[in-house]
């Protein structure tokens, strides 16, 4: 099981929110609605939605980056036309969210939310700025490593995945109870993007790659 257990006491918010009973294993009949997932139309997603640096009058402060990768099923097949949503803090480590009280500056030119549909190879691509680390109140001197939140649909509602992408070499990863809630080290490594020089655009932006592999659908298993 690559996923973290629901109850991971090092991440305090799990203590009262983790289900105490295991999920009920259920052999779905072929008509079960969880075997399908919404199909998105290209007209529903704006062409600029995937460029988080062009959503305002000016350019956001920070290190401009390109984040790209493929959404695959566990058989290695591309998941085409699926919706990928991302959100993140700005370069100073502050979210454009009323609930974020971290005393770091907001950036009027950065909202930090984007979305796109994967292409025929299952590929997505975002242009953004590198998010900053930020403190939180889980325990004394708690800091989240820099990360980008990902939300991916897939072809079955059972494949629905929300996760976080981290950056290579971030010294905060070993101290982060959210990332460390994943018991298996190899599984944790799969959440760390790779620097990709062939994605980097000269005199413009650094490139990172991050592939997302969705679980089996019940019919496959």
């Amino acid at each position: 099981m690559p996923h973290p257990p629901y109850l991971s006491p090092g991440y305090r918010s799990t203590v009262l929110r983790a289900p105490s009973q295991p999920p009920v294993a259920f052999k779905a009949d072929p008509d079960a609605i969880e075997l399908s997932s919404p199909v998105f139309g290209h007209q529903e997603v704006g062409s600029l939605d995937a460029d988080l640096t062009r959503q305002h009058e000016g350019e956001p402060i920070g290190e401009r980056i390109i984040v790209t990768g493929r959404v695959l099923d566990s058989g290695g097949r591309p998941v085409r036309g699926t919706l990928v949503e991302v959100w993140q803090a700005n370069a100073a480590g502050r979210y454009a969210h009323a609930g974020d009280q971290h005393p770091a500056p907001l950036d009027p030119n950065f909202t930090g939310a984007g979305r796109c549909l994967t292409d025929d190879e299952g590929r997505y691509r975002f242009v953004t700025i590198k998010p900053g680390a930020y403190p939180w109140r889980n325990h004394p001197n708690a800091w989240r490593p820099a990360h980008i939140h990902f939300s991916v649909f897939g072809t079955a509602f059972t494949q629905r995945l929300v996760t976080q992408m981290y950056f290579p070499g971030d010294p905060l990863m070993p101290f982060d109870p959210i990332m460390q809630s994943i018991p298996d080290e190899a599984a944790r490594r799969r959440l760390v993007s790779s620097y990709a020089h062939d994605v980097t655009e000269p005199e413009w932006a650094l490139g990172y790659t991050f592939d997302v592999v969705l679980g089996r659908t019940p019919v496959e298993s």
């Binding site: 007209q43 959100w87 592999v213």
Partner: protein
Amino acid sequence: MTLPVTPSQTVGPFFGHALPYPRDWELVPEGRPGAITLTGRVLDGAGEPVPDALLELWLGRTGERGVLTRDGEGVSGFGRCATDPEGRYRFRTARPDGPYLSLQIFARGLLRSVLTRVYLEDRPDPLLDGLDPVRRATLVASGKEDTYEFDVRLQGEGETVFLDF
């Protein structure tokens, strides 16, 4: 070939500027004949409201209204709703073709989403019939006419049945 699956992580507390979208909770337009309201609260193991959860409702087919744009007159099969400070959510939806709707819940403190079913009435059913009566009751909405109430209890007494397919 089998690729190892990407692990899940929590949605966190700060999705509010990213995942909700205009009329996300309205799977059908206001006033559509046959529309129902599905509402309820998300509660934690102490019975306290979860004010920062995100719920997704799925009817099993995409429909014709647009999932993100909501510009058609018909039905969309997908909706999204963030809970309010009292932990309450609501959807305006069509009735499903079958006996149940699929509901997925994300929240800070949930390292992986939980998936459940909302049955609009108690009836013989392959899933319900395999559960003891107390747990079975957690999957059946209460309600009458066009308004249904369904609470999600993440933990403890009355804990909602979550599913693993």
